[in-house]
């Protein structure tokens, strides 16, 4: 019976069968369509869809790496990183609090029967109030003055209207953050150790504030303690022009392409603000110091907040750079410069450099006025920026300052004269109070003149008339050629490759003088439209005046070259044990033994009894040459004080140059003003050299 009833429900007519097949094929087609779609999506479109899904639901957050350290030649860190503890609010976790506060404020507005309610503004106010509440809690914990608590009830610190800015939520910053970096935590306190405009709250290094937060603030919750790294310069402004400083950048080293999961081009990448070199070695070796960014792959919520960290990789610290500077000599050099002041007590602009005669490595390089890179490492106040701008502190006078070298150039004039055989080391010239060239008298700086002067005496007393005579006898062509042979028109410092800089190739110290260097000749004068060259111009050039422009570093190299009996010295700011002491382009100086001995002897006499006698160091005979040149500063005539030299006299190890820009109302002279700085540098260097000699006899002094 049952079987027959089942049979009964089957369609019995052809029409019914057709209907049944129709329905069957309809469903079959639908089924195949679904299966086909599934296959198409899963097998053919899968990669594309996965990419789309990743793009929509994931993001990469790039974290900046710690920059490498910069050491002096002995391994003392000149630039380091310190831990910075910052307090951040996780906005995603605060969503409920924002909402609750918003609803409360909305209810209050409605109860007030407000005519119109700006809901966007209300939501922003709610966010600010919630964050302000948390910020108050943070300050309540870290500010030790909150100790005033009696019994069981704390005296909470109320925030007055005139509260300092750092205790208030910065609405502009919050808006910007929500617009650009909503997924990242919002910074409540940027630096826990120095929360109040860069100042610690207690008389320590700020550690107490950090410790109080760590131990007293709840671990769980939306407020996080994050620790990152901030650039620090332990010696403050010391060697600031060499070290440079760093500035904020959003362009982090982008190595996310190494990660297979995040190769989707359109995937959102958020970057924490990192640091990049802005000047000095920080800039020229930026790529070496930078390191590799860390990355985090996050899934995100529909409202754009980070949800779960799926994968991550820690940032990798950048490489270290070892400079040739010796911080002890650097400190002494800067201390010497800091004593140079005008009658009003302002620091005189000045520069000083000391280099290793044999390797060309720079042991000290100072420029005054300077700046403190610590104050530029994080948030730069416009006031401090303007202060540096006004004082001219950005300029590295040692490598960028262009000055007439004055009488220090006389060593080149003498060399040119002897090489052209217009004078010899023992020739004696009659040098009166002036020397007539054409119809103009060129004066001696000694009113009665020096009488009979040979090379040795010329260098000791810095006789001008000897140089006028020899300069004119030598001629401008030979004189200019000699200056070029010593490299006065050639940019110094090696070029750092674009691989190391991470940008354009540049010199070891960025933007060292190149095009501004002038060794004048007939062609130059015509080119600048100053007319034909005259003997007067030659006379001027012979004493380092006129159109000649060079840097203190060039003059230190001239001194080092004379010490070695060569023409070129290639200075470098990078310390290398593999440095050979060969200098590209260096030729023998071209003087015979007597001539060279006389040239060097005159420089020693200059220190012993001549114009540099104020800088004499008992027990350390050394060679020097002073110079006082004239220049115009703000339309008024002023003096530049120079001193170059090398030490010790018999077995030279270091060479130096000092330059001081005198003010129009100051009494600035080569020996008197620049001499004491040179003395201080050498007095700092000498014990180090003696100790090195005791520690390792064959090495130094050479």
């Amino acid at each position: 019976m049952k079987e027959s009833s089942d049979m009964h429900v089957l369609p019995s007519t052809p029409v019914d069968r057709l209907r049944l097949y129709g329905v069957f094929f309809f469903f079959l087609a639908g089924f195949l369509y679904v299966i086909g779609g599934l296959v198409y999506r899963q097998l053919i479109q899968s990669n594309e869809l996965k990419d789309q899904s990743d793009t929509q639901s994931r993001r990469v957050v790039l974290r900046p790496p710690a920059r490498g350290r910069i050491y002096d030649r002995n391994g003392f860190p000149l630039v380091d990183n310190r831990a910075r503890w910052s307090v951040k609010a996780d906005l995603a976790s605060l969503q409920k609090e924002f909402r609750a506060e918003y609803l409360r404020m909305l209810a209050a507005e409605k109860a007030r029967e407000a005519v119109s309610i700006d809901r966007e503004k209300l939501l922003e106010d709610a966010r600010v109030r919630v964050l302000q509440g948390w910020l108050n809690k943070v300050w309540f914990v870290i500010d030790e003055t909150n100790r005033n608590t009696k019994g069981r009830k704390p005296l909470t610190k109320l925030t007055p209207v005139t509260a300092p800015a750092e205790r208030q939520i910065n609405i502009t910053e919050l808006r910007k953050h929500l617009r650009e970096r909503r997924a990242l935590p919002f910074t409540l306190v940027n630096d826990l150790a120095f929360p109040g405009t860069g100042q610690a709250l207690t008389a320590d290094d700020g550690t107490k504030s950090v410790a109080r937060f760590i131990e007293q603030f709840p671990v769980e919750g939306p407020i996080r303690l994050e620790q990152d790294i901030v650039r620090t310069y332990p010696y403050g402004a010391m060697a600031a022009h060499v070290l440079g400083y760093v500035k904020d950048t959003d362009a982090l080293p982008d190595n996310v392409d190494d990660i297979s999961e995040v190769r989707v081009e359109s995937m959102q990448k958020l970057r924490y603000t990192g640091k990049t070199g802005a000047a000095g070695v920080e800039l020229s070796y930026n790529n070496v110091l930078s390191g590799r960014s860390g990355w985090e792959l996050w899934s995100k919520t529909s409202s754009g907040y980070n949800q779960t960290r799926l994968k991550y990789s820690e940032p990798e610290q950048g490489g270290n750079v070892m400079l040739s500077l010796d911080y002890r000599i650097q400190q002494a050099t800067e201390s010497g410069l800091a004593k140079l002041k005008d009658p009003q007590g302002n620091l005189l602009p000045a520069a000083a450099v000391m280099i290793d005669v044999h390797t060309g490595e720079i042991l000290a390089l100072a420029s005054q006025p300077s700046f403190d890179p610590n104050q530029l490492a994080d948030r730069v106040s416009s006031k401090y920026y303007d202060q540096i701008e006004e004082s001219g502190g950005w300029l590295n006078r040692t490598t960028q300052g262009l000055y007439p070298p004055g009488s220090t150039f006389k060593v080149i004039t003498a060399t040119a004269g002897m090489r052209k055989k217009v004078v010899d080391w023992d020739d004696v010239l009659d040098c009166g109070a002036f020397f007539r060239v054409g119809n103009r008298d060129y004066p001696e700086h000694e009113p009665v003149g020096y009488g009979e002067v040979n090379l040795d005496k010329m260098l000791a007393v810095s006789c001008n008339v000897w140089n006028y005579q020899i300069g004119i006898r030598t001629g401008i062509e030979a004189l200019a050629a000699e200056a070029r042979r010593f490299g006065l028109d050639t940019p110094l410092l090696q070029t750092v490759s674009d691989f190391e800089t991470g940008g354009q190739p540049m010199t070891e110290l960025p933007y060292a003088a190149s095009r501004g260097l002038v060794v004048p000749d007939r062609e130059y004068k015509l080119r600048v439209g100053a007319g034909a060259w005259t003997d007067g111009d030659t006379a001027n050039l012979s004493i380092g005046q006129g159109y000649l422009l060079t840097t203190p570093l060039h003059m230190a190299c001239v001194a080092a070259s004379i010490a070695r009996g060569e023409t070129r010295t290639a200075p470098s700011i990078i310390h290398s044990l593999e440095r050979t002491g060969r200098h590209p382009g260096a030729l023998p100086i071209g003087l015979n033994a007597e001539q060279l001995a006389s040239l060097r002897g005159g420089m020693v006499r200059c220190v012993e009894e001549g114009t540099a006698r104020v800088a004499r160091i008992p027990g350390l005979p050394y060679a020097g040459k002073t110079g006082t040149s004239e220049y115009f500063k703000k339309g008024e005539k002023a003096h530049l004080a120079w001193m170059i030299g090398y030490a010790p006299a018999d077995y030279p190890v270091v060479a130096f140059a000092v330059l001081v820009e005198g003010q129009s109302d100051t009494n600035t002279w080569g020996g008197k003003t620049a001499g004491p700085v040179a003395k201080e540098m050498l007095e700092a260097w000498w014990p180090i050299a003696v100790k090195a000699n005791l520690d390792d006899k064959p090495k130094a002094p050479r």
Partner: protein, 291 residues
């Protein structure tokens, strides 16, 4: 319908109604309920602790005379050594008092010590939390440091009438600053507990160790509290650096693991150092508003 099934359905309905009611009741009522449950449970915890002590007592009482005599001899030896130490400490104490009087250095006591027996360990996190048999009635307040001898055990996180919950050093909720033995410059490092799996040994992480720090040779470096955070007194021991330090790629810092003192695993009694003055952190733990 089957009366059994009908009964089952009724119980499900009752459960649903109860859950719905529980969701709907005000949070204050739920908090009160939770608190009441803890207080209801407290005598059981006390009883559990005391019964364990009683068991230990009987276990010891059942030992043979020879064993007791040997233990007595050992104790006599330890007593003698301690006697000598007591004399030594007494001398140091007197010298300390004398120097304080000379320099007129008078630091008021900052903490009140409350000795408490351990009632139980929180079964959900074996190494991370203990319950002690002292509470609000004994003056214990949240946030107070808990020590055993000169070793930090943890920190009070919740206080009930007669019991308190203590987060151990290895608890993820524990965080403090520390100095490392052998660091002449006294850099502060961060110690915080690490969530471990149920079978793993509980440890804490020591981070932000300066890169140029090296452990003293031949012994694990001890880790001490700094006393700068206003919660823990200074120079209390947190444990030892375990297995050396290792560099992180982040840069200037290294990390290590903290092996807590051995006593942490076998605690019977602890001291709670209740601060005489409330600190801001305590106010935050009590949920005070700072708007």
């Amino acid at each position: 319908m089957d009366p059994n099934r009908q009964g089952a359905r009724a119980s499900y309905v009752a459960l649903l109604i109860f859950v719905a009611l529980w969701i709907l009741v005000p949070s204050a009522v739920r908090r009160f309920n939770r608190e009441a449950f803890v207080e209801f449970q407290a005598p059981a915890l006390h009883l559990l602790g005391k019964s364990r002590e009683l068991a230990t007592f009987w276990e010891k009482k059942s030992r043979s005379v020879e064993e007791m005599a040997a233990a007595g001899r050992d104790l006599a030896r330890i007593n003698a050594a301690l006697e000598i130490q007591i004399h030594k400490f007494e001398d140091i104490r007197r010298e300390n008092v004398r120097l304080r009087e000379i320099t007129r250095y008078n630091v008021p006591a900052e903490y009140m010590s409350v000795v408490a027996r351990v009632a139980t360990r929180d079964s959900s996190s074996w190494w991370q939390r203990i319950v002690i048999r002292k509470g609000r009635n004994d003056g214990i307040r949240p946030g107070a440091p808990v020590v055993f001898g000169n070793t930090v055990v943890g920190r009070v996180t919740a206080v009930h009438l007669t019991t308190s919950e203590v987060d151990l050093v290895t608890s993820p909720g524990f965080r403090c600053t520390a100095y490392l033995e052998g660091d002449d410059q006294n850099h502060i490092v961060l110690v915080n507990g690490v969530a471990s799996n149920s079978l793993g040994t509980a440890k804490a992480r020591v981070s932000v160790i300066p890169r140029d720090y090296f452990m003293p040779a031949g012994q694990p470096a001890r880790v001490f509290t700094t006393g700068m955070g206003g919660v823990f007194p200074s120079r209390l021991m947190l444990g030892y650096l375990d297995g050396g330090t290792y560099a992180t790629q982040v840069g200037n810092f290294k990390e290590s693991l903290l092996m807590p003192s051995r006593d942490l695993y076998n605690l019977q009694e602890v001291s709670v150092l209740v601060p005489l003055h409330q600190n801001p952190g305590e106010a935050l733990m009590q949920g005070d508003q700072f708007q």
